[in-house]
């Protein structure tokens, strides 16, 4: 049976604006894909450890040395909006009263 999912909730988590027609299509397609994917539930794996990466490794640290970094102008070159030496964005907080 296709899996029912709350498209609006998931889209909100994903910060994804969807048109109504996209929502209808995604609900159907994701339901079908998840129905197939849910087959992994058939595998008895309670005692099996999960694998996150094919190469088991602990944290990899670099030496604590100062290296040259990207100049500010280079780092900002692709920015949709620049404000001085910063990325410009629409407001992110109320200014208060």
């Amino acid at each position: 049976m296709p899996v029912q999912i709350d498209i609006d909730h998931v889209a909100k988590l994903a910060r994804l604006q969807l048109r109504d027609d996209e929502k209808v299509q995604l609900a159907a397609q994701l339901g079908q894909i998840l129905e197939h994917a849910a087959r992994i539930g058939e595998v008895a794996a309670e005692d099996v450890p999960p694998t996150a990466s094919p190469i088991p490794r602990a944290n990899v640290y670099r030496n604590d040395e100062i290296e040259p970094s990207l100049p500010v102008d280079e780092a900002l070159r692709n920015a949709p909006e620049r404000t001085g030496d910063r990325f410009g964005v629409p407001r992110i907080a109320e200014t208060g009263s």
Partner: protein, 494 residues
């Protein structure tokens, strides 16, 4: 008629350069002529770089004329899938959201090729963010298979595969997260190598699914695949997952043959869903291994049946996290309009900038990671991944190399599977397990079907056994001695 330079292998070109029979500029000119002749139809390139390439070839010729020691890669035209960052050259990932993105740095794999004297001919088309198996998910339109322009080249590295098949470039880099090098190589009749995870740095490879993404090569011979891997392989401090182990000589033992080699035929990879012509061709290739002295047996990978399901939870989960960075703030598209706040701007930007398949996978991954579903989907998929890895470990106790078809079918018609995501995902059923396990695999042409479309055989080896993989692939390639030349090129001449 002499063979145009662009149709030679890298090894042949290196010999011509060394003998003074060709210059880097002449090789490049041959590649450009071919692009001019066929790319209007094939559409492999998103951003050709003819002026940069010409300057580079001139520099190389000046350097070579001094009699200085020569790298075997010098002067070889290389194309890069448009997911590798290139300093100063637009990099789109096949997405509208990065339409005008010009990276300020080079991917390590390209830095190494460039350092060895390779010439960048351009950036190739691909499925958006490398998500797809047909190249139809590119925001810039599909690539057409040089063997039949009505058909897909496979994906997601479809442009790189098609460009090598059509002689528009001699070598190309692609990326393989679930088969995106091997499957298009199979459908376009070229050699596609996916090395061990971590063998090649991912620095500058724009991330799709970080625990699966692997840099891979497209060439027209197995020897060239070894030569190309030789250059790009190795530890890179900029990628914490790159392996800090020595890089062996990938070309030296190529001719050693397969006498006594234990070759396991993956039993589950035949039967349902596999086209009869594909099965027949792959089985005939397996018979050749036996004829060459290999010890051929059958092997089971019991959890491979669940690999596809696990992959379509793990890869989208990682993608949903990786693609959070496209928020209209630091680079890429920002949706126009008067946004109430930054969050509204992000919603609008992502809704406008991503195409349907990318949205599908972001949604799928977000769901699989969300509260209440994580354990049943993502958590369980990670456990199945462990079992897939154990299957390989067991199989490699008995066998040196595993074989299967690369893809269940030959190239399908553009549009045939575009509206059915599940049917599209099944293209990768034989290639996905190697990504989950991180082991190296290669697709080698092994024949044509009745419609004259290429068929590929996939060989898989244990982690870091690329030498065995290449040696086995080379033995088959030499024994088959196929002439893989798309009919399109008969009309092109030189």
């Amino acid at each position: 008629m002499t063979t145009p330079l662009c149709d030679l292998t890298g090894a042949e070109l290196a010999a011509k350069l060394a003998a003074g029979e060709a210059s880097a500029s002449q090789i490049l000119a041959s590649s450009h002529e071919r692009i001019d002749a066929v790319d209007g139809d094939v559409r492999a390139f998103l951003t050709p770089t003819p002026r940069l390439a010409a300057e580079r070839a001139d520099e190389l010729d000046a350097y070579l004329s001094t009699g200085a020691p020569q790298s075997p890669v010098a002067g070889i035209p290389v194309a890069l899938k448009d997911v590798f960052t290139t300093n100063g050259v637009r990099t789109t990932c096949g997405s509208k959201i990065l339409d005008s993105y010009v990276p300020p740095y080079d991917a390590t794999a390209w830095t190494r090729l460039a350092g060895a004297g390779a010439v960048l001919v351009g950036k190739t088309n691909c499925d958006e963010f490398a998500m797809g198996s047909s190249n139809e998910n590119s925001a810039y339109g599909p690539v057409h298979n040089p063997w039949d322009l009505e058909r897909v080249p496979g994906g997601s590295s479809g442009g790189s595969a098609a460009a090598v098949a059509a002689g528009e470039t001699v070598w190309a880099l692609g990326t393989d997260t679930g088969g995106s090098v091997r499957q298009p190589a199979s459908l376009c009749g070229v050699v596609g190598l996916k090395p061990t995870y971590g063998r090649v740095s991912r620095y500058g490879l724009i991330a799709f699914a970080s625990s699966l993404d692997t840099v891979g090569t497209f060439t027209r011979s197995v020897r060239d695949a070894g030569s190309m891997l030789q250059v790009v392989a190795g530890h890179d401090p900029r990628d914490a997952t790159s392996l800090d182990v020595p890089v062996p000589d990938y070309v030296a033992g190529l001719e050693d043959g397969v006498g006594g080699m234990r070759i396991g035929v993956v039993a589950e990879a035949f039967g349902q869903g596999v086209e009869p012509a594909v099965e027949a061709s792959v089985r005939a290739a397996i018979d050749r291994f036996a004829g060459l002295g290999a010890d051929v047996g059958e092997v089971l990978l019991p959890h491979a049946a669940y690999a596809l399901s696990a992959y379509y939870l793990i890869a989208p989960s990682e993608a949903s996290s990786n693609l959070a960075r496209y928020d209209g703030v630091r680079y890429g598209l920002r949706a126009e309009g008067d946004h109430a706040d930054s969050i509204a701007m992000m919603f609008a930007t992502r809704g406008e900038g991503f195409g349907p398949e990318v949205k599908r996978r972001i949604m799928l991954g977000t769901y699989a990671l969300s509260a209440g579903y994580y354990e049943a989907y993502y958590g369980q998929a990670q456990k199945v991944r462990t079992l897939v890895i154990r299957d390989y470990e067991t199989a490699f106790e008995r066998f040196d190399i595993l074989v299967s078809p690369t893809s269940p079918t030959t190239a399908f018609r553009i549009g045939d599977k575009a509206d059915d995501p599940m049917a599209m995902y099944l293209n990768d059923i034989f290639t996905i397990p190697a990504n989950l396990a991180g082991v190296p695999a290669i697709s080698v042409p092994c024949g044509l079907d009745d419609a004259g479309l290429p068929i590929g055989i996939q060989l898989t080896a244990p982690a870091l056994h690329e030498q065995t993989l290449l040696r086995t692939a080379h033995a088959l390639e030499s024994d088959l001695a196929l002439r893989m030349r798309p009919p399109l090129l008969e009309d092109v001449g030189t």
